[in-house]
Amino acid sequence: MQNFMMNLQSIFPEVLMTIFGLILVVLDVMTKKEKKSMVGYFGIAFLLITALLTNPQVGGKYLGFNNMLMWDNFSYVFFVIFALAYTLTTLGSVEYLKDKGILKGEFYTIMFFSILGMMFMVSAFDLTIFYVGLETMAIAMYVLAGFNKNEMRSSEAGVKYFIIGAFSSAMLLFGMTYVYGATGTLNYLQISEVLKSGLVADNMTVKIGLILMLTGFAFKISAVPFHMWAPDVYQGAPTPAAGFMTVAPKAAAFAALIRFVYIALEPAAGLWVPLFSILAVLTMTYGNLVALAQTNVKRMLAYSAISHAGYMMIGLVAMNPEGYRAIALYSLIYVFMNIGAFTLLGILKNKGMVEDERLESFAGLAKKNPLYALGMLIFMFSLAGIPPLAGFIGKFQIFMAAMKADMIWLAVIGALNSALACYYYMRVTIYMYFNEPEYEVEATVGRSAFITSFIGVVMVLFVGFFPTAFINFVRHLLV
């Protein structure tokens, strides 16, 4: 009976989310066509309830189902990150979706269920659970990318994401089977024990398996050279969905990767640390260099998302608790600044009609829409990592973790890269503030978009000026 209670406690958040998700499905069927945003608002309320009910106090660990599922502070912090991403996206998406004629309850239901998948990914201590969570998230994301079925770009994004995503999942899965065959278990703790015992250390099977698995992971976090899907998908997807997709699934993939490599592969650090160090350098540099050449702001933000994944990978290879704490903090900050930027991008329209993402369209916006320009400026500065904004705090923590792990060269490359990145973020603000308007562009900030960007701006400033509260939030994380 005690066993049963322990199991229940470990899965309680997911059970709660499943029940709420099913209620959302019913609500979606019940609500009238023009009131579908209610589904999204109910989703926010449900997430808030779950977040309040499931907080494991610091140090609380609920490991259930024969060590397959873990609910601890780490899972909780990442759940809060996903919940915030959902909240901001939902608030910011209503007007955009209504405008495009795709304000459907499914948008929110699917996003909600994707969070359920992410929770399973993060709390998994077993590859089976991890895989099911990953696919729940991924399938939901394919639908979100292709959500605007009237538009060709969105359909293309959905199909591309689907093919590449399924391909990388199959690769990950094939690697898992070899790891399973060589170690005889799918459990992280037991894999770690088997690897530690040295019985399979030089085994070719386990090496091939791990390399295939890590390649699959690299696809999911869009690390160069496995990034080719990311720009197209982020550009084609509906703008609010793109904002969500650059933030939450990436945070989930990182969290799951952290759990896997820090627990299961801890004895095999010699294998993956050099691999991910190289990938981190490639990802940062490539993302930034290609972003420099972009003239479409949405595509530029897509490449910037790739380079941000590179910064986060520095925290991964640092191999110390500061590293993954920094990743958690970075993901949290990234939620505010990136979803804010995407929301503002989504309301920019040419002649008040067509969605416009060209860089030239930003020219002279500061005179027409001073508030809009100011918000965009703050998000761009924060993404560039200019002190004292939130983005700087995130990068600083990541680089500190690298310093502590004696990987100064990696921190230096990261810092150089963020200096490089300043150029293309600044270019947007320069266009807004110093260029004369070229096109008849309008940015009507509606109520919901205003709330989202306002929350984003406030949080970016708040984290920047009072970082201690947020650093405390992640300070006790332990994998």
Binding site: T128, V132, A157, I163, F167, A170, M171, Q235
Partner: protein, 100 residues
Amino acid sequence: MLTLAHYLVLSAIIFSIGVAGVLIRRNLIVMFMSLELMLNAVNINLAAFSSYLQQMTGQIFIVFVMAVAAAEAAVGLALFISLFRNKQTINADEINTMRG
């Protein structure tokens, strides 16, 4: 006698055919069939290891892989249909609206 190695070679061959199919073929439906081939190679591997290790874990994993593959198939076909309605083609080479 059939040993573990036979099954592993078989699944590796099937997986490679699947990978080659995804990379070479340009019809989205055929690419998707190749993806299913990759997943089936995974299932063969799991079954072989599960039988070799005398464990149930691998076989249970197969059930999940199958269920997920079905969900993936449904979503994938829906996406293909919506692409076809917009573009009148399902050739992967013609999905090139976005560049850069």
